[in-house]
């Protein structure tokens, strides 16, 4: 006896959603950007409260920042600068920088992390995004520290503007670009696949 074929459901899931009365759904379901923003801001505040807390700052952030100084110093030596590292300070006879909170890329990382976690996506997609994004943000930050040291050493008049206006904007812009690329490539189902379903 031939098996009876199971018919696919007539109404796709999205149509069921449309059929649901809008008033029955809470406002943050009708406006996902509101939900995204609320979760993003809560995660951002929690992240910064955590890294501002003295025990975390002393045991995690300071050693991490010292590590950034070591890597940046090594990068500067690689391009021929004779530098000396002491804690979070990189110096040579021409110039010295102290890498502090705000210069270690942690802010950009937390903004990226909050945006990735606030976005409706699968956990594997979030894992990929966080791993790649954090490495990329730190790579951009390394370029920033090296460039700022060279600016301070050879073009000191431009240091102030470079330090805040140019490089902070570049690092945050990099975080935003990475998030948009992640959301488009990894987190959102491809349009064709969605259409086929």
């Amino acid at each position: 006896m031939p098996k009876k074929r199971r018919r696919p459901p007539k109404t796709p899931r999205s149509a069921e959603l449309v059929a649901e009365p809008a008033a029955a759904r809470p406002p943050w379901h009708r406006r996902p950007e509101v939900r995204f923003l609320a979760v993003f801001l809560v995660l951002l505040a929690a992240g910064f409260a955590l890294v501002t807390w003295n025990p975390v700052n002393d045991r995690v952030i300071e050693p991490f920042t010292a590590g950034i100084a070591v890597v940046s110093g090594a990068a500067l030596e690689l391009i021929g600068e004779d530098v000396e590292m002491r804690g979070t300070v990189i110096r040579n006879p021409r110039f010295a920088v102290n890498i502090r909170n705000g210069c270690n890329g942690v802010e950009a990382m937390l903004i990226f992390l909050a945006a990735v976690l606030a976005f409706p996506a699968s956990w594997p997609a979030r894992g990929v995004g966080l791993a790649l994004g954090i490495v990329a943000i730190q790579a951009v930050n390394l370029v920033r520290v090296v460039a700022l040291f060279l600016t301070g050493a050879y073009m000191p008049d431009l240091f102030d503007a470079s330090h805040t206006v140019v490089w902070q904007s570049v690092v945050i812009l990099a975080a935003v670009l990475l998030w948009i690329l992640w959301a488009d490539r990894f987190a959102v189902p491809r349009r064709a696949a969605a259409d086929a379903a």
């Binding site: 409706p120 904007s169 959102v188």
Partner: protein, 193 residues
């Protein structure tokens, strides 16, 4: 929204927006200093705070306390330009959104700039209060308790770093996230994050 077009527009918009911001900065610094002084005075009685542009470096402003002796009246300075450089990112993000009319694009940017101006005034208030509560040694300790010092200090730190840096993205998401991800907007109704 086409993400590639958006990213291309974003990179193309950064330099022109930076040029406009750099041209407008001297005027905006003055507006912010004057507006900031008005906001600070709303939070104090009697009105003893005066904010003045620093003529040696136009990017800076001085905080004066009129109840201090003339020799110690000038208590601190801060870099006004640092409070609003994120406008470059804000402008570029809003102008880069493809597939909408210029009227709609500029309208959203106008609202975002208004919100950013409110944020800048709040940031000036926190900067001044932070200086009073934590930077004036014995005078700070005498006039501000432990809670007030922590409140103004942490508030200034949070507003001046994370909130300032995240604000352009947050405002952009508030206006345009649904354009970037229309399908995701539908799915958001069923799938929790």
């Amino acid at each position: 929204m086409h993400v590639r077009r958006f990213l291309r527009n974003l990179l193309l918009a950064v330099l022109p927006v930076y040029a406009v911001w750099a041209l407008a900065t001297p005027l905006y610094d003055r507006v912010l200093v004057a507006g900031g002084q008005a906001v600070v005075r709303l939070a104090e009685s009697p009105n003893v705070t005066r904010l003045l542009p620093a003529y040696q470096d136009p990017h800076y402003a001085w905080i004066d306390r009129l109840d201090f002796p003339p020799a110690r009246r000038r208590v601190h300075s801060f870099r006004v330009t640092d409070l609003h450089f994120h406008l470059v990112l804000l402008g570029a993000l809003f102008l880069a959104v493809p597939g909408i009319s210029w009227r709609e694009r500029l309208g959203a940017l106008g609202w975002a700039l208004l919100a950013a101006f409110g944020f800048h005034l709040l940031l000036v208030l926190f900067w001044v209060k932070f200086v009073y509560a934590t930077q004036l040694g014995a005078w700070s300790a005498e006039h501000y308790g432990a809670f007030a010092r922590n409140f103004w200090g942490l508030g200034k730190h949070l507003l001046d770093l994370p909130v300032k840096l995240a604000l352009p993205f947050a405002l952009w998401a508030a206006f345009h996230l649904r354009r970037l991800l229309p399908r995701r907007a539908e799915e958001g109704a069923t799938r929790p994050a």
